[in-house]
Subunit: 204 residues, 3 copies
């Protein structure tokens, strides 16, 4: 198994934990927990591949991308409290997964001929789409639209990849740079409690 | 009209009733009732065909798959109480429709080259996707994620189809076996009030 | 820039304002405002192109279709109150945008070989899909399913386009007729406070 696939599966595993623990909190049944694990884990990749017309999506052509979220969901179902205790590690791997998914999503969009704006949009959606679908399925306004610096690092990472591509930097180097930017900004945001601004509340 | 198409349209009709009665309960207007009828009826097939790249989806290429849900929605709109009184019959045909959609969805996924895990995932989504979209559109956490044994029979039916395919059983026989498994388990679950397990509530 | 593209971008701009002001009301952060602007603006076109298999969708292949919603979102973010004061103009352009998106969506569906029922369905979704996704993302039952005459004009405009096509009227003339029907019915509905009917509340 290549390093990239291993990183990818690790990111999927951690994203799946986020979906499964939310599902447990919402009192979903076992199927709901597994489904939310899967949606959080591969939802971004599904949206990416649907928009790119790369169908069937990679995540359902490769059994490992389905087995890993199911395993993560089952673990979170039987050992929710232990999973929660790992929250620092989960945040770390989640930031790494976000960076990876944004970088690979943006790169794939460029490879399939999209322009810079479209590639950044698809790459961002590849990173945040699983969380969007996860939250919509349990009736929550997606957390990525409301607080914490989650999507902004994703967009900036996509911009780095697109810029590197325009400057003819090797795609491996731009992918590493793009995902590093996402990872570092996301971790800095968590550490310093950075938030994206909210519009002033209107005078009623 | 072949028997398969007739069964398919019957399943679509009953799924549409579920969407339309929910929309009436939620005080949606006539368009909302027809829209929810359509989403519940063909939503699973749309998701299946989008993921498989079989576009435009079968349900919008064949006018009957659009007319039948509209008719069901109109009936539910003008005669909601009568439709509700048929709830035992509706549950029976809903279970049959679920079985049919899972079996045909899994079979189509295999025919288009997906592996076993991907085919079960697509087949399950073909069966439960309409209900998922229906509930999300009215702001409910999808009932299929919360209670009753609805998705588990679907998954097991998909596994039967995939297993039959691996053993080179004829696709007609596997489809009958797969949809029968879904139907029987679903009806047994309703009769015996089976539920998928929920994770223990965490000690706070 | 052709007149059609200019009208299209104007419609997208106004749809984006609807998403952005809703996001401000819901206290989303800046990214949430931009995201909701984009979803409201191009969501209908994305659904249309996904269902038609015209991938990647036009809206992410042409940078202008991404830049315009971002600009609208930024304007709504910094000047929400001024945008609200323009509500009469926004409703006018929104009705025009709805008509345009329905007419172009139905025409594109016919051109790609769909039958009349499928083409009306796709055209309607092209018009109302952005608003559907916008409302679902903030946890609201889509307003188009609940009140005001919004979707019914869209459906009728699609029927006009399909009828014109069946009668071999030139596609430019049918598009103008179809979008005019949508626009006039929508503005009449607002002016006369027309609503689609709601099913009678059941006697409990």
């Amino acid at each position: 198994m290549s390093t990239l696939v291993l990183l990818d599966l690790l990111g999927i595993f951690v994203f799946a934990l986020s979906g499964a623990t939310l599902a447990v909190d919402k009192r979903l049944d076992l199927f709901g927990v597994l489904m939310l694990a899967g949606v959080a884990a591969i939802g971004g990749g599904l949206l990416r591949d649907v928009l790119l017309g790369a169908l069937p999506p990679a995540a359902i052509r490769d059994g490992r991308y389905l087995i890993v979220p199911l395993a993560a969901g089952a673990i979170a179902f039987v050992a929710t409290r232990h999973v929660r205790r790992l929250s620092a590690a989960v945040r770390l791997f989640d930031a790494a997964g976000l960076g990876l998914f944004v970088a690979t999503g943006t790169t794939k969009a460029l490879a399939l001929g999209l322009g810079p704006a479209g590639a950044v949009a698809v790459g961002t959606l590849a990173g945040i789409g699983g969380g969007l679908l996860r939250d919509v399925l349990v009736g929550e306004v997606p957390i990525v639209l409301r607080r914490e610096l989650y999507a902004v690092p994703a967009v900036l990472g996509g911009v780095v990849v697109v810029t590197g591509d325009a400057l003819d930097v090797s795609s491996a180097a731009t992918a590493v740079a793009g995902s590093s930017v996402v990872f570092v900004l996301r971790m800095l945001g968590l550490w310093r409690d950075w938030h994206a601004p909210v519009a002033p509340r209107p005078l009623s």
